[in-house]
């Protein structure tokens, strides 16, 4: 039988912050990751749990100060259905649509994907490519951490134990194109073998502000600086695609695991990047 750890359900953020001062609490949002851990089969179940589900302050999607703000408790279904996400950040809706299936998308949350910090978290490369930042809150106040600084090591984040992920801020000034691609064993219910997001702004036939981010190829979601360097200021031509694909294949250092092999991940990362460039270049 699963371990039924004691749980407290705060109704307001200050109440939640007060509880989180005691570091033995593990937060639960939609539960799609944590409920698998309470079986005790994957290590020690949490000692005490704080249920975030009633914190309506963490819901909602809105535009504010030139940014798209997505609350931490927004589910993947809400993200898929959001007209604002569809207009301003369709890549995030695409990523949400590849996670689990309806049952998971109805419960799993963006904040959970961020805090759970799996290197295979499918929305995380989108956050990196979009230059998103993550707003953390605690009794000490709020602070913003750039996505690129958030995942610090395998399953480790910049979040302190007394902090909650409140929302994600996606700046919209440059209105870049973002492409998303996930490769898994099947279209639904699959943990990714490789997941990629690529962002760029077209400027007189060449690409500017290029970001290439991947999941499942390192201990954390990562950006690939050398590959971005190949694409920055370049046009999406075949020679550029060949060079970028060869670069990314060398730049990443994935591992063999139950889902895939390092060789496959390297090879398929190059292929995905090549295909995105071909599609964007129209050749």
């Amino acid at each position: 039988m699963p371990v039924e750890s004691p749980v407290i359900t705060p109704l307001t953020l200050p109440e939640a912050y007060g509880l989180l001062g005691d570091e033995t609490y593990r937060p639960i949002a939609g539960g799609t990751d944590l409920m698998v851990q309470i079986t005790g089969e994957l290590g020690e179940p949490p000692e005490r749990i704080i249920d975030l589900w009633r914190l309506d302050e963490l819901r909602g999607i809105r535009i504010e100060d030139g940014a798209l703000l997505v609350g931490a408790l927004c589910t993947y279904t809400e993200i898929r259905r959001s007209a604002l996400v569809g207009e301003w950040l369709p890549a995030l809706a695409e990523a949400a649509a590849t996670i689990g299936a309806a049952q998971i998308q109805n419960r799993g949350t963006l904040g959970g994907n961020i805090a759970n910090a799996s290197p295979a978290g499918d929305t995380l490369p989108v956050l990196l490519a979009a230059d998103a930042s993550i707003t953390l809150g605690s009794a000490r106040g709020e602070r913003e951490v750039a996505a690129v600084d958030f995942w610090t090591a395998y399953r480790e984040t910049a979040r302190a134990p007394d902090e909650l992920v409140l929302r994600v801020r996606f700046p919209l000034e440059s209105r870049r194109t973002i492409r998303f691609r996930k490769v898994g064993t099947r279209r639904a219910q699959a943990i990714s073998k490789v997941v990629m997001a690529l962002a760029y702004r077209e400027d007189g036939g060449v690409w500017r502000d290029v970001r290439v981010a991947l999941g499942s190829v390192a201990a954390t979601p990562v950006r690939v600086a050398q590959t971005e360097g190949v694409l920055e200021g370049a046009a999406p031509r075949q020679t550029v695609a060949d060079h970028a694909a060869a670069t990314i294949t060398r730049e990443i250092a994935p591992i063999d695991d139950v889902r895939s092999t390092a060789d496959y991940r390297r090879s398929v990362s190059g292929r995905i990047l090549h295909r995105i460039l071909r599609e964007e270049g129209g050749w």
Partner: protein
């Protein structure tokens, strides 16, 4: 830590005094005696424990009871007409078109299909396949399940 939780279950009010982290699946099967909802994998992969919470299909193995406090919960037991026992059109369609073999996935399939149809889902192969993508069936090739759902979506009575 036992607390009281209230929700509606297939239209009737229930109150449970159980630990808040009890899986909704265990509360339904062990505390409330509704064993129509099946446990397959227990980790959100197979969909056998699918139920509706406020109209949305979820895996009951991944939802703690504390999170359904105040919600509307529907299980396969609530599908047939409670007065006459007549099967719902969706259940009848599964029966008529052979949409079940061993039956373990069937309650979950029905609930996922129910959610899809209630949200106005079209009887298209693509739409239905996505709607039941979180429900594994190890007996059939899914074809008859999809046909049964499509036939209900097409039917005049709806789901």
């Amino acid at each position: 830590m036992v607390q009281g939780y209230r929700f509606t279950l297939n239209g009737a009010a229930v109150e449970l005094k159980v630990p808040g982290m009890r899986r909704l699946l265990d509360a339904l099967r062990e505390d409330l005696g509704l064993t129509g909802t099946k446990e397959g994998c227990g980790e959100g992969e197979c969909g056998a424990c699918s139920v509706l919470v406020d109209g949305a299909v979820v895996d009951a193995c991944l939802v703690p009871v504390c999170q359904v406090d105040g919600s509307d919960v529907r299980t396969v037991e609530g599908m047939a007409d409670s007065a006459t026992g007549a099967l719902s059109p969706l259940q009848q369609s599964f029966l008529d078109l052979g949409g079940a073999q061993c039956g373990i996935c069937t309650p979950g399939m029905l609930m996922a299909a129910r959610a899809y149809l209630d949200q106005g889902g079209e009887p298209t192969d693509e739409g239905i396949r996505e709607a039941i993508a979180g429900n594994l069936c190890r007996c059939t090739g899914y074809t008859k399940i999809i046909e049964a759902i499509a036939a209900t979506a097409d039917g005049p009575a709806g789901g």
